[in-house]
């Protein structure tokens, strides 16, 4: 699933490391999230969205094929 994490991180001048430490996960997990290779739990999605001052809906780009 595509995300806007990278774009929002850049806006807030935040590194993967910073975001990872704020939400309490490994840096690699943020990397995989950004690449769309990892689908997070609702809790992690919420934490990431809150750190990036957005909503889960805005953070993830839901496409028809993801929902099929």
């Amino acid at each position: 699933m595509k995300t806007r994490i990278k774009e929002l991180r850049a806006r807030y001048d935040m590194t993967q490391e910073d975001l990872a430490s704020r939400v309490g996960v490994r840096r690699e997990t943020i990397g995989f999230l950004e690449k769309g290779k990892y689908n997070p739990s609702l809790k992690l999605a919420y934490k990431v969205a809150r750190c990036l001052q957005t909503s889960i809906d805005e953070l993830f780009i839901f496409e028809e094929e993801d929902l099929a």
């Binding site: 490994r26 997990t29 997070p40 809790k43």
Partner: protein, 131 residues
């Protein structure tokens, strides 16, 4: 104290206890030389692995929801492969194709379980997630 720091200290303590037990066995009991070498080896391996992990994950948590998920899936795939190996061994023995001793079978199973668990986890970690 962070989670990683606590884990590191605990593992170093366990390793120290194992090594001291091994040295004590070697010094005071003559008949337990193999066991004492085993304990010292186990302690040394724990120190080495803990040191590597502490260096690698110095700035982050030791595990998160992704690593826990991958760890569990790796173990369940490994369990399934082990089940298949046990079934194959059963039929191999049943038809007399190969006669294995209990030691050989147990050794093989330990090896299969350890290698497949680590192998699946390594593959899934590289992939990013499980589906």
């Amino acid at each position: 104290m962070g989670k990683l720091e606590k884990y590191t200290k605990t593992m170093y303590s366990v390793a120290a206890v194992l090594i001291m037990a091994g040295v004590a066995l070697m010094a005071f009991l003559e008949n337990y030389q193999e066991m004492s070498i085993g304990l010292i080896n186990a302690g040394s391996v724990i120190i080495f692995v803990t040191f590597i992990r502490a260096r690698r994950y110095r700035s982050g948590p030791l595990k998160d929801e992704r690593t826990v998920r991958i760890g569990s899936y790796g173990l369940s795939y490994s369990w399934f492969v082990t089940l298949v190996v046990v079934a194959v061994l059963f039929w191999v023995n049943y038809f007399g194709i190969l006669q294995l001793t209990v030691d050989q079978v147990l050794g093989l199973l330990i090896l299969v379980m350890a290698v497949t668990a680590k192998g699946f986890q390594w593959y899934l970690f590289r992939k990013g997630d499980v589906e």
